[in-house]
């Protein structure tokens, strides 16, 4: 089977725009949460979230004009803008510049989203109600469709390989990376730009997740304490937004052009819970099966896994995931470090799996596990190190990143350091 490596990284997160800017803040224990600034959220059940810091591009702020011309920005929902920004970062980081027609045809894009242009749909529905159907923009549909991140990125760069988009709620980003890696393994492409993008912080997004009792509601006075995976006082997830994109490349292709190689994607497992539309089963055996499938594919001993980036959303499901991971690791559970970076970034839904895969890759690069913030009072008995409050410096060669989504969809990615 052809080997697949990661040669480029890009992200826009509530901590910062940019991979290194986000990573340094994450390791420093900073939180991206705050009272919602973009609109008046005072009438909603939750008035806080993790918003991307907007600005002129300095100090890690997100300057939309840097990534897309203003006249183009008007035509797309924010998730496409974030996805484009992360994709441009990743492609630039990879140094991949196709030259021949075949190069372009062998480079594809698979960037998904959990919900896509939710805000555009809401605004357009109101517009039709108030002013009639003739006022609907010709850019409404192409600006809201989930696969238009992949479409826009392919148009910008001329990438003519597989053009695809994943939609699996909060496991979208992980599924996109896993599926794109498989396209390379099977020879459908040599290079894939893969990841997830999401922009759910809007009245309709917050109200919708509030209605299904998924969001934290009781930390309006201290939003930065709201996302607290595994803590006894957790009361739901904190909404995030942004995008994560990686450049995946066939190993020999990367070596031949002298590309920088971050890690190899060695394992990918998928499963379904067949249980409930929003909740995992009490033992989350589906998550365990996804992880076991990834481990089997990777051909590693579970004791080699140094860092696990948990799905860990700061909901009741956190401890259920912990149990599944403990069963997976068995006697090795005491030797691995697991954290939930959602404690700092909030939950980026369809982008979460992608930014968390990137954090896992950087954990290998720097031999450090990012912290779980706000974990004051652990709601479980475990031998596992959950990296409360502070990063953990340790040897990390193999990482596991978990992502689970509404509908009972599970994805697990395993990546390994490439030596020599």
């Amino acid at each position: 089977m052809r080997r697949v490596v990661v040669t480029g990284l890009g992200m826009v997160t509530p901590l910062a725009s940019g991979v290194e800017e986000t990573w340094s803040r994450l390791l420093a224990g900073q939180s991206g949460a705050g009272t919602i600034k973009r609109f008046d959220a005072s009438g909603l059940g939750t008035n806080y979230a993790c918003e991307v810091p907007l600005g002129d591009g300095s100090d890690g702020t997100f300057d939309a004009d840097r990534w897309m011309e203003p006249k183009e920005q008007r035509k797309v929902d924010d998730f496409i803008l974030y996805g484009m920004a992360a994709a441009v970062q990743a492609v630039e980081d990879s140094g991949w510049k196709p030259e021949s027609a075949q190069d372009f045809e062998r480079t594809g894009v698979m960037i998904g989203s959990g919900i896509g242009g939710l805000q555009s749909i809401a605004e357009t529905a109101v517009l039709i109600k108030e002013r009639g159907p003739r006022r609907v923009s010709p850019f409404f549909i192409p600006g809201a469709l989930i696969n238009l991140v992949s479409g826009q990125v392919s148009i910008r760069y001329g990438f003519k390989g597989p053009n695809h988009a994943v939609v699996t709620a909060c496991s979208t980003g992980a599924h996109a990376i896993g599926d794109a890696a498989r396209l390379i393994q099977w020879g459908d492409a040599d290079v894939m730009v893969a990841g997830g993008a999401e922009s759910p912080i809007s009245e309709i997004g917050i109200a919708g997740f509030n209605a299904c009792k998924a969001l934290s509601t009781k930390r309006g006075d201290d939003p930065q304490a709201a996302s607290r995976p595994w803590d006894k006082d957790r009361d739901g997830f904190v909404m995030g937004e942004g995008a994560g994109v990686v450049v995946l490349e066939e190993y020999e292709h990367a070596v031949a052009r002298g590309a920088k190689i971050y890690a190899e994607v060695i394992g990918y497992g998928l499963s379904g819970d067949a249980h409930h539309i929003t909740a995992p089963p009490p033992d989350h055996e589906g998550a365990e099966r996804a992880m076991r499938a990834a481990v089997a594919r990777a051909g590693v001993d579970v004791a080699e896994i140094g860092y696990i980036n948990a799905h860990g959303t700061s909901t009741m499901a956190d401890t259920i995931e912990l149990g599944a991971v403990e069963r997976l690791l068995g006697k090795a559970a005491g030797g691995a470090t697991m954290s939930s970076t959602k404690s700092a970034t909030g939950h980026l839904l369809g982008a979460a799996g992608a930014i968390e895969a990137i954090f896992s890759i950087l954990a290998i690069r720097d031999n450090v596990a990012p912290p779980t913030l706000n974990l004051d009072d652990l709601d479980a008995d475990t031998v596992m190190d959950l990296a409360p409050h502070k990063k953990v410096e340790r040897d990390i060669d193999v990482v596991l990143s978990n992502s689970f989504g509404f509908g009972g969809t599970n994805a697990a990615l395993i990546m390994r350091r490439v030596t020599g």
Partner: protein
Amino acid sequence: MSDTADRVRKIVVEHLGVEEDKVTENASFIDDLGADSLDTVELVMAFEEEFGIEIPDDAAETIQTFGDAVKFISEAQ
């Protein structure tokens, strides 16, 4: 007339992201100003909005240049 032209030009500059001096009498939205077919639909909607008129689809198809737009709108008002 000149007021109408100025308002039309402002919309074109805003929507197509072009320099004001490029928006001349015979400038074609598609051939000279970088618009695609969706951009022209949006432009016509913006004209309707700005001038409070309705431009039927068959008429919209005849508006190819800046001059066409100014002429149509001036007559419709």
